[in-house]
Amino acid sequence: MPDTLDITVEFTGGLEMLFSNQRKHAISLPSREEDGNPATIAFLVRYLCQSVMKDRRKELFVLDDTVRPGILVLINDADWELEGEDKYEIQKRDNILFVSTLHGG
């Protein structure tokens, strides 16, 4: 297993504002968590907060250790609820989209 997984992470619906105003991010995610388990969405979210997100308002993205309610997560265009939510194990070349429903309509 390679050390990193090359994936695409996208932020839309206003979330891009929290990530340097950039919609698409090419991420090389460590393929294993610190404890050796395969990288999951939960791990990705922690990684994004620590290593990618420069905005200090983390609570606009994460609440209670998970993605804030009102933010949809699509894994290769599928609702993450169909994929095991934050326990989904990330595969290489995955496209993970975070889209906020909370911003002005």
Partner: protein, 488 residues
């Protein structure tokens, strides 16, 4: 997890989990189902008439963009025979609307619709940037919200359009229901749940207003007597599905928060709605339906009124645009609530502990009590949700949201004086058919003629204050600008 097949076509892989019924659908089936449900809402509520010219209140945001896209699709698919135009309001906030108006302009091309952009300066003589310069950033959301509530109707009247549709979705309505329920404001709860609101707006100003006192607004809107109907075709559509529809159809929309309202997220009823949805997705529609059911029990509701002559509500059940979106905050184009309201509400509930379980009876039996105007919640303790604030704090805050300014403190909105405590039960049945509308009892603003429960509407009150401190010259210029407006 093994991919599951679409529940509808049984062929494609399911990508969408529907919040309302947990159905798993593939992309084409989801899009078809979403559109079919909006069509169902439109037809069962008789929202449109053939040949109608309809202005879509367009902000460039997800809701109005989806609304425009779906209405275009349905208008063609089912031959509604509608003429659809886009109507955008420019608040005059530099840098805020620029991008969203660009989005609306692209939408106009994409959907082949006429676009009219009307500015606060045209409608009121003030841009929001000028208002902020005058009153500061604190409290400016009040102005923005009051102006916004009237802007679509005024804009439509200017264009001679008699029907405005807005992108309010189920989450918006659920939020309004909860807010009004927590406030114990049942009349407003009743009004806010209706899918159609009919209101004469922008009626030519009464002759009384001479040139000197001239309605600053009236000058702009005397394009004849107009009935502007408002409706919400997306009322039963989940915000989640609206966003997914926009995503899967690759719609071009824009998202931002009002730059003058950076705190829009915190402690809001919106957060509560989203948390409820996470626990039980169907709860949003449940709240909407419950709101509708409760609305039928409210004395003064048109159904209730017809079943018993004793209900002497002096107010019509039909909302004016001014208050229809009261549950919505000053800022945020979809009528989003702003921060702090839940905190204010919580404080009020602590103060008013009878309200908890028996809101209905409380509302009916207790006399309306005027609330103090001072110490608006917005400024005070807006961001302390679910604190244990002592009742005294609640009293001083009055539990008011920051953009509620006069409605609750005036005697022109009497609670129905019901002699019997258990009256509510007599309203539960039967429900007569909703055929005739009650007579419109609301008055008109003496300045501008806008439908209002006050003798002078909120916008005119705010404008009076603004204009007082502005040099006369500026007003003249603004009136001139108004004359040449109407370019659409």
């Amino acid at each position: 997890m093994a991919p599951s097949p679409c529940a509808r076509c049984k062929v494609n892989r399911a990508l969408i989990l529907r919040p309302k019924n947990h159905q798993r659908l593939c992309k084409p089936c989801f899009i078809a189902t979403f559109e079919a449900e909006i069509h169902h809402t439109i037809t069962t509520n008789n929202l449109f008439q053939r040949g109608e010219r309809i202005a879509i209140g367009a902000s460039g945001g997800k809701d109005s963009t989806v609304l425009a896209s779906v209405l275009k699709t349905l208008n063609e698919r089912h031959d509604y025979g509608l003429e659809l135009i886009l109507l955008s309001i420019d608040e005059g906030i530099k840098g805020y609307r620029d991008d969203s108006l660009e989005t609306v302009k692209r939408n106009a091309v994409q959907y082949g619709m006429e676009l009219c952009i009307i500015g606060y300066d045209e409608l009121y003589g003030w841009t929001m940037d000028q208002v902020v310069e005058q009153v500061g950033k604190k409290g400016n959301c009040t102005y923005c919200g009051v102006f916004r509530r009237q802007a679509l109707d005024r804009g439509a009247a200017k264009l001679g359009v008699r029907h405005v549709v807005t992108g309010h979705n189920a989450d918006d309505v659920a939020e309004t229901v909860l807010m009004n329920l927590l406030r114990g404001d049942l009349p407003r709860l009743s009004r806010s749940t209706s899918i159609i609101t009919s209101m004469p707006s922008a009626i030519a100003p009464p002759k009384a207003s001479g040139p000197g006192t001239s309605g600053v607004i009236g000058k702009n809107t005397n394009h004849g007597i107009t009935d502007v109907r408002r409706s919400k075709p997306l009322k039963y559509a989940y915000e989640k599905e609206i966003v997914l529809y926009a995503h899967h159809k690759n719609l071009d929309y824009f998202s931002t928060e009002c730059i003058y309202s950076p705190e829009a997220f915190r402690g809001s009823a919106r957060t509560l709605i989203k948390n409820l949805e996470k626990i039980r997705p169907s709860s949003i529609l449940d709240v909407v339906r419950s709101g509708e059911d409760m609305a039928r029990l409210v004395p003064g509701n048109e159904d209730a009124k017809r079943c018993e002559g004793a209900c002497k509500s002096t107010r019509s059940n039909l909302p004016s645009a001014e208050e229809e979106e009261e549950g919505a905050g000053g800022c945020g184009t979809s009528g989003r609530s702003t921060g702090g309201e839940m905190a204010a509400m919580e404080a009020k509930l602590l103060h008013n502990d009878v309200a908890s379980a028996q809101v209905l009876e409380t509302e009916i039996t207790l006399p309306a009590r005027p609330r103090p105007r001072n110490g608006q919640a917005h400024d005070r303790h807006a961001h302390t949700p679910f604190t244990n604030e002592p009742p005294s704090a609640a009293t001083s805050s009055g539990g008011q949201r920051h953009d509620r300014i006069d409605d609750d403190t005036t005697p022109t909105t009497p609670r129905p004086k019901s002699p019997t405590k258990k009256r509510s039960t007599t309203h539960t049945l039967p429900h007569p058919p909703k055929t005739q509308k009650p007579a419109q009892k609301m008055g008109q603003c003496a300045r501008c003629g806008y439908l209002s429960s006050q003798s002078i509407c909120k916008a005119c009150v705010l404008l009076e204050g603004l204009n007082k401190s502005r040099p006369k010259l500026a007003i003249d210029i603004q009136l001139d600008a108004a004359e040449e407006a109407g370019r659409c």
